[in-house]
């Protein structure tokens, strides 16, 4: 009965391979975690011990995996003491992690167009999802940040409908793989849409023909106001919408029910666990996001 459910999460003693700091207290960690790298899917996360003294691990979305090298990349922003300690971990240090955890994005319908909307440290799952689709489905990535983007950027070679002439920059690694992207910020960053990323995605969606628009699926990860805006957008345009959530988390494997979100399903209200019932949920069942 439970054999398919067992042994799906790995405990790995992950070595810090790289820790590169970016403006805005952001950093990208590369960790050696071969089993996680081999099995992770877009939308899943790792649950990491940042130091032996902290009682709770920290859940962090996976940005990219390199199964051949056995490494996992994470983008983190310092938001408290735990992430600050993680920022200060040096190359060569060992951090225990659990991974990969959670219900990933559903990317199975390759006849659809995936419109990916990421904000801040919610951008990484979008990069992973776009990378995993690998051109098998039409994809457009929209990323928003109020601090400098921690990625190499380059002018996009792809025309996207509804996007203004000054919104020219995209994420270089995606562009090089043939995946169109655009950026949004209120921080007056060059080449970016001035405003919030859901509004940029909205301009794009509204410029698509109705038939093309109805083919779209929205994926989003980011701060709550952004997720609210994306949920509203999905409802307004009647588009299937998948949101990746975060919440304070203890066990990370479904044992404690500490990390819940309220859902409204056919049989009524529930609190579902963000760690294993999510972190990706259909916006249809999230009454708190509208």
């Amino acid at each position: 009965m439970h054999e398919s459910f067992r042994n799906m999460i790995f405990e790995e003693q992950a070595e810090v391979i790289a820790n590169i700091h970016y403006p805005g207290d952001q950093f990208i960690l590369r960790l050696k975690a071969p089993k996680t790298a081999q099995h992770a899917k877009p939308g899943q996360f790792i649950h990491i011990r940042v130091s032996p003294d902290r009682s709770l691990r920290r859940p962090i979305s996976i940005m990219l995996t390199h199964p051949g090298k056995g490494t996992v990349d994470l983008l983190v922003k310092v938001v408290g003491d735990g992430t600050r300690e993680l920022r200060d971990r040096a190359v060569g240090e060992i951090l225990p992690l659990l991974g990969p955890i959670g219900r990933p994005f559903d990317l199975s319908d390759t006849a659809r167009r995936y419109v990916m909307i990421g904000g801040g440290v919610g951008i990484p799952p979008m990069i992973f999802a776009a990378d995993a689709l690998n051109g098998q489905a039409d994809t457009a990535v929209f990323a928003g940040s109020e601090v400098e983007f921690p990625f190499a950027l380059k002018p996009s070679q792809f025309l996207l409908p509804g996007i203004g002439g000054n919104t020219i920059l995209g994420i270089a690694s995606l562009e090089e793989r043939g995946i169109p992207s655009r950026l949004a910020s209120n921080a007056e960053l060059y080449g970016c849409y001035e405003g919030y990323v859901p509004d940029l995605a909205r301009d794009y969606l509204m410029a698509l023909g109705e038939a093309e628009r109805s083919r779209c699926i929205l994926l989003a990860c980011g701060p709550h106001p952004m997720l609210h805006a994306v949920a509203r957008l999905g409802r307004e345009l009647n588009l299937s919408t998948q949101l990746s959530l975060e919440e304070y988390m203890a066990c990370g494997i479904g044992g404690c029910a500490g990390c819940v979100v309220k859902t409204l399903e056919e049989d009524g209200e529930h609190y579902r666990r963000v760690c294993v019932d999510g972190p990706v949920f259909s916006a249809d069942i999230l009454p708190g996001f509208a």
């Binding site: 009682s55 494997i253 990390c259």
Partner: protein
């Protein structure tokens, strides 16, 4: 095999004679001459636990969550206590439900559960009862509800029922029973006729005299004690000036409460031993050394809860180190370690 074992026993005895008790035991262990691994099984309220480790209610869902992790085995566990269960389903508290604190955490889950009938009909039949034992954790807002939950679980594969009279996170019932020895005893009295399964009463550290509560629930028919539940605490978000926990207060667990738990265990042990009642000791255990401290103080079984959040593979590590400790101290079985605390007059 007998000859080899016999020789090894002789060598061990010889080493102990020449080196003194402790050194001899260590030398014997180093030379792998100990013939047998120490026996980690333990008797508990008429049950035989395959190891003294018990996974605590509220930390391990409805029994199978930890088997998601590669390397975790139910066979390392004496018993798994299922999440607190009420007669009717409970939605639980609004988030945030948990928050990290120095050397611990606060939680206020609010007894989210699908109700006793659902647990019995839809969850228990699918649990691997051949791998470990599963115990229920019964909750109620009234004496009648506690009794009915006991009656329902009596006709189920759980091998024992823990009584939660000390949950600090619901507005009614729970800790209100646990804080009053007389009310605590009434809960046990209400449940006792409803089941032949062992009843384990989980005591609150938040009342004035835990030993008195222990005495009352033992005399009311409790077969065992669980010591301790969480301590009540809170945390404040200084930007919003609101309590971090949605329920305002939460239960404090983790290493921060370990000294309190040991002291409460010590206070409870005398009355429990007098009635030959076993104790499931718990509170902030994150390694084998902690577990051994509890055993010495008088824990017949050892509860792991928040420690699993540190490390879901903690049980195997605790068992390995516990076995090493017993071998090094020339103790042949876990039972002989229980309650060996020496207090000088």
């Amino acid at each position: 095999m007998y000859v080899v074992t016999g020789l090894a026993r002789q060598y061990k005895a010889y080493l102990i004679v020449i080196g003194g008790h402790r050194l001899g035991g260590r030398l014997a262990a180093m030379l792998h001459l100990m013939p047998d691994k120490p026996d980690l099984s333990v008797a508990f309220a008429g049950l035989k636990l395959q190891t003294p480790l018990v996974l605590l209610s509220g930390c391990v869902g409805f029994g199978e969550e930890y088997t998601r992790v590669e390397g975790f085995s139910n066979r390392d566990i004496g018993a798994v206590i299922l999440k607190g269960t009420t007669l009717k389903p409970r939605l639980g508290n609004a988030p945030h439900r948990i928050y990290e604190t120095p050397s611990g955490m606060l939680n206020a889950i609010g007894l989210q559960n699908p109700g006793a009938r659902h647990v019995i009909e839809h969850i228990l039949p699918h649990l691997p009862h051949d791998e470990t034992q599963f115990w229920a954790n019964a909750n109620g807002s009234t004496l009648e509800e506690y009794a009915e939950v006991a009656r329902l679980f009596d006709d189920s594969p759980v091998t024992a029922i823990e009584i939660n009279i000390s949950c600090p996170n619901v507005k009614e019932g729970g800790v209100h029973f646990g804080n009053d020895p007389v009310m605590a005893a009434k809960v046990v009295e209400a449940m006792r006729p409803m089941t032949k399964k062992p009843l384990i009463t989980k005591l609150s550290p938040n009342n004035a005299d835990i030993a008195e509560t222990a005495r009352c629930v033992i005399e009311a028919g409790s077969d065992a004690l669980s010591v301790i539940n969480t301590l009540v605490g809170m945390a404040v978000d200084i930007e919003s000036r609101r309590p971090v926990i949605g329920n305002i207060s939460g239960g404090l667990s983790g290493p921060a409460i370990k000294p309190v738990a040991l002291w409460k265990l010590h206070q409870t042990r005398t009355i429990a031993a007098k009635h030959d009642i076993p104790i499931l000791g718990q509170g902030g255990i994150t390694n084998a050394r902690d577990a051994i401290e509890f055993a010495i103080t008088g824990a017949d079984a050892i509860g792991l809860g928040t420690g699993l959040f540190y490390d879901p593979l903690l049980p195997r590590k605790v068992l390995d180190r516990l076995a090493e400790y017993l071998t090094a101290h020339n103790i042949s079985n876990y039972t002989n370690l229980i309650g060996t605390l020496e207090i000088q007059a």
